[in-house]
Symmetry: C2
Subunit: 137 residues, 2 copies
């Protein structure tokens, strides 16, 4: 028997115990069989699924996207749909990066105004209070 309890599953999959239960509760992963005393027992199939979810989360997929990916994996591999989900997510990552880079540029420029501590009023606070719009905001 290569079955493990929820703690072992957490160690093997890298998903926290509470998170595993959470995923089960919201129906993201299927409830595993239980021992006679009612404790969850995870076999290779369930562990593989948990790893899948952890990897997809690490790539920033939402739980809904992961749900869709799991369904596509279980059904007959609609490869084009998988690609579509992944590509859309990739585009969104790009948008997030662009947003953050705009923030960084604006904020860096603002911080640069405050070179030392010899200023009369704090230029950072001034910049945040000014009437002109902030770039990217």
């Amino acid at each position: 028997m290569r079955e493990v309890g929820i703690g072992g599953a957490a160690r093997v999959s890298g998903v926290h115990v509470e998170t595993i239960r959470y995923y089960e509760r919201i129906g993201l992963v299927v409830a595993p069989p239980r021992s006679s005393a009612g404790q969850r027992r995870y076999g290779p199939v369930e562990l593989r699924r948990l790893r899948f979810v952890r990897r997809a989360r690490a790539l920033g997929f939402s739980l809904d996207e992961i749900r869709a990916l799991l369904a596509l994996g279980a059904g007959g591999h609609a490869c084009a749909e998988v690609r579509d989900i992944a590509q859309r997510h990739l585009d969104e990552i790009g948008r997030k990066i662009a947003d953050l880079e705009r923030m960084r540029a604006t904020l860096a420029a603002t911080v640069a105004l405050c070179a030392g501590d010899a200023a009369p009023d704090c230029p950072i606070l001034e910049a945040l209070s000014d009437t002109e719009p902030v770039a990217g905001g």
Copy 2:
């Protein structure tokens, strides 16, 4: 009187009506005076504060950071502290960008595996299920 109601304040500041009330509720902005009928009236000072919060949010500051910035602005301008908060936030933006760029690289490489639709099994799902660790995960 250049005072406005909460709707006008929302238009002028760019902060939604519900969000203004939310900010007041959590004590981020001071409750403005009320009209005789109990409606909020915003003057230039309050509007300036709302704009400040909106700008800072647009730059990704958390509400707690903004609270600190507002306190520093109200008190005697501890410019070094302001700079400190801004610099730390800048560092965190950098970390987020780096995380997202790692995600993007990994995901792009994975999507690239699925060039067309002639593959036997979906390489994206395969990559997510494999045992080797995902880069950056």
